[in-house]
């Protein structure tokens, strides 16, 4: 039994809407921070597709690591990348892939 959403007009705050949706092609930034990070080196600069938008928004874990238990929240996304694109000479089938959670600050639209 489905019900249609009532039609209302609201203005959303900045950052309330996720920037990416499932299926969007994204590139993981090729930057190399020192000190702390939560994006493994093997993912830097790789392109993949958004598979899942994680709700609700959450604090940037790379900032939380420096004792900020509160702060600006953002979206995390599950991004999928074929293993053949991650590893030159991957011998498995082309559909094999890796899926990883990435904070929005690391993602660029391609």
């Amino acid at each position: 039994m489905t019900s249609s959403k009532p039609s209302v007009h609201v203005v959303k705050a900045l950052g309330e809407e996720p920037s990416f949706k499932v299926g969007d092609r994204v590139r993981i930034s090729a930057r190399y921070p020192i000190g702390h990070y939560r994006v493994p080196t093997y993912m830097r600069g790789k392109c993949g597709a958004v598979e899942f938008v994680i709700e609700p928004t959450a604090v940037n874990n790379e900032e939380e690591a420096f004792g900020r238990n509160a702060g600006k929240k953002g979206y995390y996304y599950r991004v999928g990348v074929p293993l053949a694109e991650l590893w030159p000479g991957y011998t498995g089938p082309p559909q094999d892939r890796l899926i990883i959670e990435i904070f929005e600050g690391w993602l660029e639209r391609t």
Partner: protein, 229 residues
């Protein structure tokens, strides 16, 4: 798995090994080896935190009870229910944490979310945390040493089929492998495939087949593995 089942009427935590003579701070008990460097550090840090009233005196003991209550048997029950009840399975796949909390009373004390990944004839999921040791502890308990060690973390993202072979698991080429690397607030529980030949099994019998490693995704459930982790 050892559990601390005895109770004290003191209100601070003990630092001695629970050997044959568990008396309060008995330095002459030669049956208990003296604590090593890191254990001494742990005792000291804990006592200082309690003295400074940064943590309460019974909190560590209570949290040990929480940890001891979380074992792969919990996950196995969830898997067995998903196998027999398609509507529960749908709710589980939609929101793993909510389904576990509401329908099994499995609380998530660590602020993580749970995604349940269904293995099918076409897709095989395996879980890792390359950066540290993220693991669905509320529903599986503590992870095995090999999950936290370098070889698994380094290799499963690069050559998952070879790694699975080392566990005795061969995945046909037509089946897609998905390696799930945990890095943030999500935790993953693999819902393994139900083995053929279990159509008449009760939910309890089904649960007894589901081992920890099948819920990490390194092995499939088979009729041969009963209760070995």
């Amino acid at each position: 798995m050892t559990t601390d089942t005895h109770h004290h009427d003191h209100d601070h935590d003990h630092d001695h090994q629970h050997g044959p003579n568990p008396h309060h701070q008995d330095p002459k008990n030669v049956d208990t080896p003296p604590p090593g460097y890191y254990e001494i550090m742990e005792i000291a840090v804990r006592e200082l935190l309690i003295e400074k009233k940064l943590i309460g005196p019974g909190e560590i003991r209570r949290q040990i009870e929480v940890l001891d209550s979380r074992t792969p048997a919990l996950g196995a029950k969830v898997v067995a229910r998903a196998w027999v009840d398609p509507e529960f399975k749908a709710r589980l796949l939609a929101n793993g944490r909510l389904a576990c909390e509401r329908e099994f009373g499995i609380s998530f004390y660590d602020d993580t979310q749970l995604i349940v990944l269904e293995n099918t004839d076409k897709i095989h999921n395996v879980v890792v945390c390359t950066l540290c040791s993220c693991y669905p502890r509320p529903v599986l308990g503590l992870p095995p040493d090999w999950y936290k060690a370098k070889p698994y973390r380094a290799r499963v993202v690069k050559e998952p089929r070879a790694v699975l072979s080392e566990f005795g698991t061969e995945i046909p080429a037509e089946v897609e492998i998905r390696v799930n690397d945990s890095t943030a607030m999500l935790r993953y529980l693999v819902l393994p495939k139900r083995p053929v030949g279990t159509e008449d099994f009760s939910e309890e019998q089904l649960a007894s087949l589901v081992t920890r490693d099948t819920m990490i995704g390194v092995v499939n459930v088979s009729l041969a593995n009963k209760n070995t982790p």
